[in-house]
């Protein structure tokens, strides 16, 4: 049985009414995750995406969540205050059904890591750069059951396997390690 542990729960409260659609959150997120840090930016790599349809007054910042190998059996579609949102509009998954939350070149999944860094940031950067307070950071402690989390590399590999099959990935991997070492 898993152990019960104290865990810091980090929440970003999204107030869509306050969003002005500027996409500063996308800019800073992608800059932060560039290697080396801040050396470049590219909103297409951001782990937060603003769904923006100005003429329909739709502005929804959505955070990248878990990678999923298969899409849902059905789709959802929300209508709120008379505004119809796109299918899967609020879903955070990096999912085969769409190109959201994937690296533009490799297609590898992206996931918000709450700007994990050492030392820890006072607030996630998208929150810091959202001067309109559409994004507000909150944290609290909770007791949770410990679970093992796969590492980034593992998630990435898994998605490659889903896409190309285990054999192909293993082949390429072998080839790459040979050429890198040799």
């Amino acid at each position: 049985m898993a152990e019960r542990k104290k865990k810091l729960v980090k929440t970003i409260k999204v107030d869509v009414d306050k969003c002005n659609g500027c996409r500063a959150c996308e800019v800073i997120c992608s800059a932060f995750h560039a290697a080396p840090k801040y050396s470049g930016n590219n909103p297409a790599r951001s782990r937060i995406r603003v769904i923006r349809e100005p003429l329909k007054d739709i502005y929804v910042p959505v955070y990248a969540g878990e990678y999923t190998a298969a899409e849902c059996m059905g789709r959802d579609k929300y209508v709120i205050d008379g505004k119809e949102y796109d299918e899967c509009g609020f879903c955070r998954a990096s999912c085969p059904s769409r190109d959201l939350f994937k690296e533009p070149d490799s297609g590898l999944p992206l996931k918000c890591d709450m700007c994990e860094s050492d030392p820890t940031l006072e607030k996630p950067l998208c929150v810091q750069w959202c001067l309109n307070d559409a994004l507000v950071y909150e944290e609290r402690e909770e007791e949770v059951e410990e679970e093992e989390k796969p590492e980034d590399v593992e998630i990435g590999l898994e998605s490659l396997v889903d896409k190309y099959g285990l054999e192909k990935v293993m082949d390429s991997f072998a080839r790459m390690s040979k050429s890198k070492k040799g």
């Binding site: 002005n20 659609g21 500027c22 996409r23 500063a24 800019v27 800073i28 800059a31 560039a34 080396p36 840090k37 801040y38 050396s39 470049g40 930016n41 590219n42 909103p43 297409a44 790599r45 349809e53 100005p54 003429l55 329909k56 007054d57 502005y59 533009p104 750069w129 959202c130 001067l131 309109n132």
Partner: protein, 654 residues
């Protein structure tokens, strides 16, 4: 590796249907920065002065600013450059929004259009894939509507689209290019796009933009953000609301329009209504605003909210910003409800919100004066507001009198004759200006109006207060945290500036000080236009977050170009002079550099002549406003001297 810029331009020949991706020389960026600077260089090199604005040989350049696509807050301007059909001079209007960064992410700094497409097309730039696509099904469609239709057709909701409406297709001289909540609307860029047969340019990009020194650059960005925050919490006291807070004038946020409605002119820039504003009007306008404005919105990567979505029951939604909130209302002597409604149609047609209302009011003035008659205006409704809709429809379709009016008040008056010229009274360099008529000559503004080559006062003013503050204490308080000045002497100019007495207008600031002040104000706008910065966070404002002291650092750490204040000042002077040279080659001379005759009641011809004499000298121009060989040499622009000598514009050196 290129930093901040991509190092590639997209060259599109519409006559031949060819598309080329061309690498640019990094030296050009060092010399002219980017945006306006390099746009001007291309225009000088490739568009000979005889070129007609609508000829296939004219270029239409969509240039991104050097820092667009980097994390620099508010840096999102597209600088659109061509030869204007209205002024016949170089046009360079800017648009905010989301287009420029998207183009950078697609891998290009500029899109350069030449030639002319045989049928209406649109461009689809999707990273490395660039296509010229048929747009015949979009003919006559609204500029806002078109953007949406293209996104749907491409199944790419994230594409940013710049489009023209019917006015551009029909080459209305004041047609705009619309894009999201922004537009490039001055000087008829939309007409040139229409003449080239291009309905729209759609862009989608998913590539990286790099900066040279990431840590330094981010530090600068964070400083700017905290200063924006500070300024949003501390409005500047003693100035009108639109100057007190950052951003484009916050017309979408404010309800109190007493200042504009009582100080700006109504009709064809004629009537001042001193006691117009009252509680009842305030209430009615507030209700209109609250019922139609859905949300305040911003441009790319900017925390301010200068635009708004306007949804009027029964009409398609559109977006608006700035002073166009009032231009239609005031031209028609009507109210805000009318202003919002007609602006919806005007935005779909794609016309400039400054010129268009004045052109329509001008037509009605001519009608009242009997210069235009019922024969010229067959079928015009009798109701005032209806007349404005009617005229708008005629103009964008170039039907009947609309065909004449579509050329703007200057050209229309020439064509109509019968004394109509006197009614085209609010122009500079043949282009309609803000409807302002004032009393005492302001020497700083005199110079800005005369010599501005962006043809819009808001595109040159900003850094220095528009008027003196009443008391010394207020002035002292103002200069206290004024670190944006390039030199301490500017503080002294302001401290000694009085409302009355010896140190008041028009003879104070002195001619020398005026030159200095105007030069600074202009320089900051030119720097913005090369970097792609919004003037609302920079040159348009007193005490802005971007200024001459932090800009060199932004350029060094962003673009990797070694820069300091002196070098930046020199670079800005260089391409500013290049812009002048293009216009000089197209015939601009001192005689063209004057404000509207009736702009001020009290004029001082001798002082005005002296101001211009001295300012020209200050700028390194001769008495006709032509850059001298010496000053061109100093800027590394000898090729301009050579051209000028060859054309007999400058005399051969003895």
């Amino acid at each position: 590796m290129r930093y901040a810029e991509t190092g590639f331009n997209l060259e599109i020949d519409l006559s031949r249907g060819s598309i080329e991706k061309v690498e640019t020389a990094p030296q050009l960026t060092e010399f002219y920065l980017g945006g306006l600077g390099t746009n001007a260089k291309i225009l000088w090199d490739r568009v000979p002065p005889e070129t007609d604005p609508f000829s296939p040989d004219n270029l239409l350049i969509f240039g991104t600013g050097l820092l667009c696509g980097t994390p620099a807050p508010g840096c999102n301007r597209t600088i659109v450059t061509t030869i204007s059909p209205q002024t016949q001079l170089m046009a360079f209007s800017m648009m905010g929004g989301f287009w420029a960064p998207e183009l950078k992410y697609a891998g290009y700094d500029k899109v350069i259009l030449r030639g002319k497409s045989p049928n209406l097309v649109y461009l689809w730039i999707n990273n490395d894939q660039v296509e010229i696509r048929d747009a015949s099904h979009l003919q006559g469609k609204g500029a806002v509507e078109t953007q949406e239709l293209i996104r749907q057709e491409l199944k790419e909701p994230k594409a940013q689209v710049a489009a023209i409406g019917l006015a551009g297709e029909n080459r209305v001289f004041f047609a705009s290019i619309e894009q999201g909540r922004s537009s490039a609307s001055r000087q008829g860029l939309g007409a040139v796009m229409g003449a080239k047969g291009v309905k729209a340019i759609a862009v989608r990009g998913t590539k990286d933009i790099h900066v040279a020194q990431p840590v330094e650059f981010m530090e600068l960005c964070n400083e700017v953000l905290s200063y924006i925050k500070f300024r949003e919490e501390n409005y500047i006291p003693g100035v009108i609301p639109i100057l007190a807070r950052l951003g484009s004038p916050q017309e979408m946020a404010v309800h109190d329009e007493q200042w504009h409605t009582e100080n700006f002119m109504w009709g064809n820039s004629r009537h001042r209504r001193r006691d117009y504003w009252n509680e009842e009007i305030a209430k009615a306008w507030m209700e209109t605003m609250e019922s139609m404005r859905t949300r305040l919105i911003s441009c790319y990567n900017c925390p301010l909210k200068c635009g708004a979505t306007i949804s009027i029951p029964g009409l398609p939604t559109y977006m608006m910003k700035c002073f166009s909130k009032l231009t239609y209302t005031m031209a028609a002597m009507s109210d805000l409800d009318f202003g919002f409604k007609i602006a919806q149609r005007a935005t779909e047609y794609g016309v400039d919100g400054y010129s268009t209302p004045q052109v329509m009011a001008f037509a009605l003035e001519l009608y009242e004066a009997g210069i235009l008659t019922d024969q010229d205006l067959p079928g015009m409704p009798s109701e005032n507001e209806e007349r404005f809709y009617w005229l708008l429809d005629r103009i964008v379709r170039r039907e009947g009198i609309g065909d004449v009016l579509a050329n703007g008040t200057h050209w229309a008056a020439q064509q109509i004759g019968k004394g109509a010229e006197a009614y085209a009274h609010n122009n500079i360099k043949k282009h309609e200006q803000l409807p302002l008529k004032l009393g005492m000559l302001n020497p700083i503004y005199f110079l800005m109006y005369c010599t501005g080559e962006k043809i819009n006062i808001t595109q040159i003013e900003g850094q220095f207060p528009q008027a003196p503050f009443p008391t010394r204490e207020e002035r002292e308080a103002f200069v206290k945290e004024w670190f944006q000045v390039p030199d301490e002497r500017f503080k002294q100019y302001f401290l000694d500036w009085e409302l009355r007495g010896e140190n008041s207008m028009p003879f104070y600031p002195t001619v020398e000080m005026c030159c200095d002040i105007v030069d600074w104000q202009e320089r900051m706008h030119y720097i913005d236009d090369a970097l792609g910065m919004c003037a609302g966070l920079s040159s348009f404002h007193l005490k802005p977050p971007y200024h001459i002291h932090n800009y060199p650092k932004f350029i060094s750490s962003g673009a990797g170009i070694d820069m300091d204040e002196a070098k930046l000042t020199q670079a800005a002077k260089r391409y500013r002079t290049l812009v002048r040279a293009i216009n000089i080659r197209r015939g601009l001379r001192r005689a063209d550099e004057k404000p509207p005759e009736d702009h001020w009641k009290k004029r001082f011809p001798e002082l005005e002549a002296k101001l211009l004499d001295e300012y020209y000298k200050f700028k390194g121009w001769n008495n006709e406003g032509i850059p001298t060989q010496e000053s061109l040499h100093e800027l590394g622009l000898d090729y301009i001297s050579e051209d000028f000598i060859q054309r007999g514009i400058l005399p051969e050196k003895e």
